[in-house]
């Protein structure tokens, strides 16, 4: 028990011999100059606080002191020993931060703001700069692999679009590419495929742009298809394909890090959240590609009529899916967005 004699304190407690679990009743005298004497039965050992191995302060964990000969001591009155150690030893600044109210409030604020920024801008920006920094050969490799996968996997079959139509559309694609020459994105290469799903167009990492037969069939004139090609060109311009690959990698690491923590909370939830966030990024990319296409259409034709026509026709045949469950925003929303951008009623 704690005794107050002139200048020293005596603490009773338990001492453990080196490499042993045998508890010995022990007494430790603490001196104001930092000296410490331990008496366990017949044994006595003295040391200065700087010669002891002391566990770092962490919350209110009872601390132990270990002597050079391997004996360790824990006090019955844990708070008294913790107090004496605090007085004679400068604690790390980390343990002081951990119990400082202002620091905690600040840390919460910084963490929340950082988390919000990371989700909205940080991860996309980091992924984008990594994607841009990757050598072109990586994009080429990924693009070729993806096309081979789609071609072999019975998703795609030969296109039936007439040869002269293809030549015309390819020429249109080259014109669009000329407008953005030298912007560092892969050179677009238009190809045609047939698939069972609804009208669609794809951009791959190597610059390949795929137009499906049903998309060609949906359009009534070339200015409508031009807007689709410009949208895909937008994906190339912003390196969206590679960016999303990098994003997926970053998300898997983050999820693995968050889930590999104690709390007993399931990882099904974490992976669902990751999927939801990825979908959000994908919708952002779609909106940006729409803006890119609308700008191009407006620059060339002075109007975005063609784009609006095909988007509206597209939305009429689109099944309704809750937008937060989809990689693409609702088409009606996309139409409204580009209308608003270009001052159309």
């Amino acid at each position: 028990m704690l005794q107050h004699s002139a200048a020293q304190e005596t603490l009773s407690g338990v001492a453990l011999p080196p490499a042993s679990a045998l508890r010995h009743k022990a007494e430790v005298r603490l001196f104001p100059n930092g000296e410490l004497v331990c008496a366990a039965g017949e044994q006595r050992f003295a040391a200065h606080i700087h010669e002891l191995r002391i566990s770092e302060a962490l919350g209110n964990i009872p601390r132990s002191v270990e002597f050079a000969n391997g004996w360790s001591f824990t006090a019955d009155n844990q708070a008294a020993l913790n107090e004496w150690l605090k007085k004679h030893r400068t604690e790390g600044w980390i343990s002081r931060l951990e119990s400082n109210r202002k620091a905690i409030v600040l840390a919460v604020l910084v963490t929340l703001i950082f988390g919000y920024w990371m989700l909205n801008d940080g991860i996309p920006a980091i992924s984008h700069s990594i994607a841009k920094a990757l050598p072109e050969s990586v994009g080429r490799y990924v693009g070729e692999k993806t096309l081979a996968l789609l071609d072999d996997g019975a998703y795609f079959s030969e296109s039936e679009v007439a040869e002269d139509r293809r030549v015309k559309l390819k020429a249109l694609m080259s014109e669009i590419a000329m407008e953005h020459a030298g912007s560092g994105n892969p050179e677009p290469n238009l190809i045609f495929r047939q698939w069972q799903g609804q009208p669609n167009a794809f951009a791959l990492a190597d610059g390949t742009i795929i137009l499906t037969d049903s998309m060609v069939g949906l359009a009534e004139d070339d200015s409508e298809l031009e807007s689709v090609l410009r949208h895909e060109m937008g994906h190339l311009y912003y390196h969206d394909v590679m960016t999303q690959l990098v994003q997926a990698s970053i998300m898997s690491i983050l999820v693995a890090y968050l889930v590999g923590d104690i709390a007993g909370v399931g990882d099904l939830l974490a992976s669902t959240a990751a999927l939801g966030i990825s979908m959000g990024y994908s919708r952002q990319a779609e909106i940006r590609a729409d803006e890119f296409a609308a700008k191009g259409m407006h620059r060339r034709h002075g109007t975005i009529e063609g784009m609006l026509r095909i988007y509206e026709r597209f939305s009429a045949i689109q099944p309704d899916v809750a937008s937060w469950l989809s990689s693409h925003p609702d088409t009606r929303h996309r139409v409204e967005h580009i209308k608003a951008l270009h001052g159309q009623p």
């Binding site: 338990v14 011999p17 080196p18 490499a19 042993s20 679990a21 045998l22 508890r23 010995h24 009743k25 366990a40 039965g41 017949e42 044994q43 566990s55 770092e56 962490l58 919350g59 209110n60 964990i61 009872p62 391997g70 824990t74 980390i94 931060l97 951990e98 119990s99 400082n100 905690i104 840390a107 919460v108 963490t111 950082f114 990924v142 692999k145 993806t146 990492a205 690959l245 997926a248 990698s249 898997s252 690491i253 693995a256 889930v259 590999g260 923590d261 104690i262 709390a263 007993g264 909370v265 399931g266 099904l268 939830l269 669902t272 045949i317 689109q318 099944p319 309704d320 899916v321 809750a322």
Partner: protein, 404 residues
Amino acid sequence: MDQTSPTPIAAPQGENTKQHAVRFHGRGAEYFGIWIVNILLTIITLGIYSAWAKVRTKRYFYGNTELDENRFDYLATPVQILIGRIIAVVLVSLWAWMSSFEPLAATLLLVALGLVFPVLMVRNLRFDMRMTRYRNIRFNFVASYKEAYKVFLLKPAMAYLAMLLGIVLLVLISKVSSVLAGLLSLPLLFIGGPVLFAWVNKHFSQFIVQHTYYGNQRFDAQLDTRKFASVSLKTLFCGVLAFLVLSIVLVLIAWAGGMMSGLAELSSSLDQSTSPKAASGFISVLVLAWFVMIVVGFYVHAYYFAHIRNYVFSQTRLEQTIQLRSAMTPMGFAMLIITNLLMVICSLGLARPWAAVRYNRYLSDATAVEGDLSLAAAQDTNDEQSSAIADEVTQAFDLDIGII
């Protein structure tokens, strides 16, 4: 120990069957400060501090766990964790990157990881045990890789093979009589599967307990596959029952809420599935089904975990003198993890420290040790350094198998 040593505190007579409760002293508010500073410093140092954060977190939880007036210690150093963590991040990035466009290579990487899994497990367990100390004596894990391959690779492979064989037989029988095959498929799925699962898991638990040491003292457990199988079968039964009950309740709620109008519309107008109302009604039902799956999943997990932990502890002894006890209840544990989950979601993650403290307090409260804890014969045996590489890799790929 030499003869000049002082006399240790003697255990009073008749203490040999005394129960020592495990107590947890951590507090949510106190841990919150540690947790948030860990996050802040991890952000500022671009993730490097996470190794120091892990050590502080582990030390907090070990140091607040008390057994017979002494606390546990966590001894790993941040640098050990950091090296392991860097290797784990490189491997996970490689895998995540490859799985996006090169599924074959990603699969090969996973297969390679599966082949070294037993080695990783042994090294991981050894690291975790050696970093755990109680009263100047560290735990240890000593097992041969050969035996680890038998338990972690050969036996699971045999179980899968047996299931596969059963399915092939069913297909052959279905050529003769599809009714007979249908009848036989039920016991294969609902009895054969769980029994094989139990057999594999029993060997996991037994392997781990039997190779764990407290200093020079050996843990031992004689586990019975029949007990594991009965828990597995009951878990499956409970899961199916809980799923049915919850589904019926939810469908009733959805119906009462008029949500069925959307569904009815969907079924009556399948040809024009573009109806937005039908689609959104369908989505709501999907979301509800997802929610039911999560709740049932937690309950099933809790049921299995609680019963297996109670059983394994009841069979675990240290040198035949000290007996472990676990008294978890499936419902109590399920309620704990579900309320923890809700707390964490509703607070946008800020309640994680309280959830972690509640979780550890629950497990500590359900645990006791019986017998003479003077541990007179125990002697620390570890001296060499350990590396945390296997520890971090297994955690990054979520390969941990929980035993306690």
